[in-house]
């Protein structure tokens, strides 16, 4: 595990609230060494690299491929960038059909260039098709597609592209030509030092993004690149800025929910599709003229303001022939048989279901923020206690551990709600919601006890920590699929 083992226990002032701390206590490590993947469903091996380390790593691949195939490093880089840095696949493809590989990687044009009229003599001037100036022939360059342009125009083309944020994707200037400009070609013609720097920075970003084992830390202004040999949807924590994220999608860590589901959930929460659902749930169309009606009173006898049609809000039947059957409608509402109900009733039911999960998701999110404030309170409480000689600083450490674990558990609990929302009804969902309820109960218990811990008698709280974490791990073991 590469999550800050070097964090000394004494360093409690600012960055001790990370969720990983609980795992790093000495007694746990001995057990975990046996089979971390079995004991801890969230175990994930990764390392944090700085820019130089990443460059070294990329250069190793480039060197290996260029030696293997006897090609220039610049070409090797293009091929690697195009093929997710799969050295072995590229070597195999190259040996099988080098021409095809180079064409599909946009290194070579599909049709070889026409070289019949390229006879040039010293001192000859030709017209550049871009700037229409006539220029000495030796001031022209071309990629292997043979489209020749003057060096000034190439440099300007690169400048325009780099300014637009394009680096590895710069292509030939000819119409419809997709041949890409390799790094050495760009750097030979690009003279402005600022642009060269920018080009190299952008290219580095492209290389990291195309590498399946590498991820930029999503933390603000953080330069760290994380590397894992198995890029799974697991919890990664930047050792530098402590940002916690899902290694696969780069979003906030979201176990037990998977990447696609959490994206769907977050979009659902963010967009206004629920407004449409609300309208559908709180309004109905007049059965005769189909104008949209909002019910603004309790009575189910409706009269359309548009066509004056009298109807029943519940069953949308004509009010006149309704008569004594009215109370049938009311029972219908009490026993919802959702499959047979109208589209409106179904939408209303869907909204109710969504709101049920959303409110809990939102609530735990708020609780997490509130408990961050509790953590500062705990710190000052510990300081006061230590000052009053009621226990030493060490004696009170368990409270910090408890608060960190509480945050970790509540975080997981928050992310169980989107998971449950998208689950199909059935025994598996029942089991999930049972475990979720158990976890929730233990978490509220723990939160209550932490807020009221007044002595160094840690037994009861330690016990509660253990129960809550066991519940969390059990739930993840059963439902976290990576």
């Amino acid at each position: 595990m590469s999550v800050d083992e070097d964090d000394s226990e004494m360093d409690f002032s600012e960055d001790d609230c990370g969720y990983e701390d609980y795992y790093n206590t000495a007694e746990d490590c001995d057990v975990e060494q046996i089979d971390l993947y079995k004991t801890d469903p969230e175990y994930f091996a990764f390392e944090c690299l700085n820019v130089e380390q990443v460059e070294r790593l990329l250069n190793e691949s480039v060197e290996m491929l260029s030696n293997n195939l006897q090609i220039t490093p610049s070409l090797a880089k293009m091929l690697l960038h195009n093929h997710e840095w799969g050295c072995l696949t590229i070597t195999a493809e190259y040996r099988r059909d080098a021409g095809r590989l180079l064409v599909t990687s946009c290194v070579k044009p599909p049709v070889p260039p026409d070289t019949s009229n390229s006879s040039s003599s010293v001192g000859m001037r030709i017209s550049c098709p871009v700037c229409v100036s006539s220029i000495l022939w030796d001031k022209f360059s071309s990629l292997c597609c043979g489209h020749s342009f003057c060096n000034m125009c190439w440099a300007m083309h690169f400048e325009v592209q780099i300014t637009a944020g394009i680096s590895t994707g710069i292509s030939c200037m000819a119409k419809g030509c997709e041949v890409l400009a390799p790094e050495d070609f760009v750097l030979t013609l690009l003279t402005k030092p600022q642009l060269r720097d920018k080009y190299q920075q952008f290219a580095f970003k492209d290389y990291v993004k195309s590498h399946p084992q590498l991820r930029f830390c999503p933390g603000p202004n953080c330069q760290v690149v994380l590397r894992s040999k198995e890029p799974k949807a697991k919890r990664a924590i930047c050792s530098y800025c402590k940002t916690m994220f899902c290694f696969r999608c780069g979003g906030d860590y979201h176990a037990p929910t998977d990447c696609n589901t959490i994206r769907k959930w977050l979009t659902k929460c963010a967009d206004d599709s629920e407004t449409a659902n609300y309208i559908s749930a709180h309004t109905k169309d007049c059965p005769r003229c189909h104008i949209c009606i909002e019910k603004n009173g309790g009575c189910n006898h409706m009269q359309c303001y548009n066509c004056k049609h009298d109807f029943c809000w519940m069953c949308l039947g004509d009010w006149k022939c309704h008569g004594s059957e009215y109370y049938e409608c009311s029972r219908y509402k009490e026993n919802p048989n959702i499959a047979n109900e109208s589209a409106h009733a179904q939408a209303r039911e869907a909204l109710k279901k969504y709101l049920h999960y959303y409110e809990r998701w939102e609530n735990h999110c708020k609780s997490l923020r509130l408990e961050e404030q509790t953590l500062t309170k705990i710190k000052s409480r510990i300081n006061i206690k230590v000052m009053n000689s009621s226990g030493t600083w060490i004696d009170w450490q368990y409270l910090m551990d408890a608060a960190a674990l509480l945050a970790k558990c509540r975080y997981t609990l928050q992310y169980t709600y989107p998971y449950a929302y998208y689950m199909e009804p059935g025994p598996r969902k029942e089991l999930f919601e049972y475990q979720q309820a158990q976890l929730e109960a233990e978490i509220e218990n723990l939160s209550w006890k932490i807020e009221r811990a007044e002595s160094t008698d840690r037994g009861e709280l330690e016990n509660q920590i253990d129960i809550a974490e066991k519940r969390r791990t059990t739930l993840l073991k059963d439902f976290l699929e990576v």
Partner: protein, 167 residues
């Protein structure tokens, strides 16, 4: 940068004056400023825009031809690929990779060897055959798909308007 842009624009202007394509006239509004052109485009025969003469403005960037110009009709227009303010949205005016509508991957893109003439010819064929998957003007695209008769009526009214015939 602007030096080579000017040289190139002058060359293109010369070419367009010597060999004008059918139904297209274009040139700088004022020869003091080669970066703003006016173009007159005749509606293609056999289409609902037949007979119309549509004025448009072309604005060239200082790094032309490395970046494409912008084109905007200055008369009223009703067309799926023209925004209601007259701006033209076709693939040749977009650099490769810059794809605001996400639909034109295979279509012809801007490249420094394209020209004003190529743009104007593309616009003529766009008038004849709208791309109804691009929604620069969603109302026009919908009407083009679902109510061609009404679309033709509106186009004919615009044609008469550009010719100064009372509608």
């Amino acid at each position: 940068m602007a030096g080579s842009a000017l040289r190139r624009l002058m060359a293109e202007y010369k070419q367009l004056t010597l060999n004008p394509p059918d139904g297209i006239i274009a040139g700088p509004i004022n020869e003091e400023n080669f970066f703003e052109w006016e173009a007159l485009i005749t509606g293609p025969d056999g289409t609902c825009f037949e007979g119309g003469v549509f004025p448009a403005k072309l604005i060239f960037p200082p790094d032309y031809p490395l970046s494409p110009p912008k084109m905007q009709f200055t008369c009223e227009m009703f067309h799926p690929n023209i925004y209601s303010d007259g701006r033209v949205c076709i693939s040749i005016l977009h650099a490769p990779g810059d794809d605001p509508m996400g639909y034109e991957s295979s279509a012809e893109r801007w490249s420094p060897v394209q020209s004003v003439e190529k743009i104007l010819l593309s616009v003529v064929s766009m008038l004849a055959e709208p791309n109804d998957e691009s929604g620069a003007n969603v109302d026009a695209a919908k009407m083009w798909r679902e109510d061609r008769e009404e679309f033709n009526r509106i186009a004919q009214r615009i044609v008469r308007k550009t010719l100064g015939i009372p509608t």
